[in-house]
Chain length 244, copies 2
């Protein structure tokens, strides 16, 4: 904890910001999933010329149902990752207590691989195995390739839910206004414009997660949304012709 505070001081970023940034991937990917899924309902309905009430009913139902399932799924997968890490940590700790010779041999193999030999190898192995915490840590990282992400499964799930529902509501807002009679413009065209702007914004925020270039990130996100919406629109249009 104290070390974290010093790190924050050095990086000029508050603890609050750090905490927020930790869940940025969930926020970004949750937003993309949410906005794509409701815009697919909007575009499919527009292609099939379904009524505004169908768009609203299925758009909202899909938003809540998918939002719940994505966030519960995000919680469960983070939870199982952590459970899996803890399970292997327990096994390795048990092995160090009960089969120290075999585990010592594994440390020897790891450092032989790194180019150590003879007296040097013996010394490194002695030093590593003299501290059980370091020993265990080396087994987890170098033997099993496992590291523990310090993310709360609950907060990861909550971040997914909130971003999914907020971003997913964007394509529907125009339809809600249109349904209330507050606009006379074509709701599909208006919704497409608003949704495209939201995709640009999400693509921009995504650069903080992927560290990709700005133009590339925006183009990728926008194209992804457009491809999904076009597929839904043309499929809706095609099915309208064959399904009465």
């Amino acid at each position: 904890m104290e070390h974290q505070a010093i790190e924050d001081q050095l990086h000029g970023s508050s603890t609050w910001m750090k905490r927020f940034e930790r869940y940025l991937p969930e926020l970004v990917y949750g937003s993309i999933d949410g906005i794509v899924t409701t815009f697919a309902v909007v575009a499919g309905s527009a292609g099939a010329e379904l009524s505004i009430s169908v768009v609203l009913i299925l758009g909202l139902a899909n938003l809540i149902a998918d939002g719940l399932s994505m966030s519960i799924g995000s919680y469960l997968s983070k939870k199982s990752e952590q459970d899996n890490y803890k399970k292997h940590l327990k096994i390795e700790a048990w092995e160090i207590e009960n089969l120290p010779d075999a585990e010592r041999k594994e440390i020897e193999d790891i450092f032989r691989e790194k180019g150590f030999d003879g007296k040097e190898l013996e010394m490194v192995v002695n030093r590593i195995t003299s501290n059980k915490k370091v020993w265990l840590d080396t087994m987890m990282k170098d033997e099993l390739g496992l590291t523990l992400e310090s993310k709360s499964p609950f907060k990861a799930g909550l971040s997914t839910l909130v971003s999914f529902v907020i971003a997913g509501a964007i394509p529907l807002i125009v339809y809600i206004l249109s349904y209330s009679g507050n606009t006379s413009l074509d709701p599909f065209i208006l919704s497409s414009v608003v949704t495209a702007l939201a995709f640009v914004l999400i693509g921009y925020i995504k650069t903080y997660v992927t560290q990709a270039g700005l133009i590339r990130s925006i183009a990728e996100t926008l194209l992804l949304g457009a491809a999904a919406a076009a597929a839904a629109y043309f499929l809706g249009d095609y099915l309208r012709g064959i399904i009465t």
Copy 2:
């Protein structure tokens, strides 16, 4: 490659199986996302008493659109992870060439943290920094905590697409049969039963990914699907009352 073959021999698993297993997380999570999203359309439509043709049009449109977006998203996120790894690898390699003293100091810090000191510390640092590959590898793993997943972004995306579309089609099959007049039973009840069975099967396969217990994995997956469907059903039912 040869080492991999020996590993496969020891673990009694063919190279083909190994390759397949590598994409099992994508296959499992793609299946869950696909089946949840189409079953949400089915349940929401049932709650709102919409026609079978609406279920088919929006179910299929959603299946293709969401399937595309999830798989492109999976491809892009794997790709950006690898790009990010390569970027940091390049930076570290450049630093080792051009700022060897600073990078040597970092290796020193890493091993001091592990309990090395004095002559021992000097020896370990000398050994690690004598081989640039080991030096670079240590920086990536111990300083940055980065490891490279040997997954092809393209295959990860393709696995997501195939599993999403196949599993997502399950709740709709009954509606297609029902639409063709091949069954007289209530399509929503039939679809719920078939979908529940599919959730049990996916929960079972999921144990290979999460290594959780069988009962827990099946119960979790089934409850997730049921929660999402119930939310969609009751929201559809509620909105039918207020949206004419």
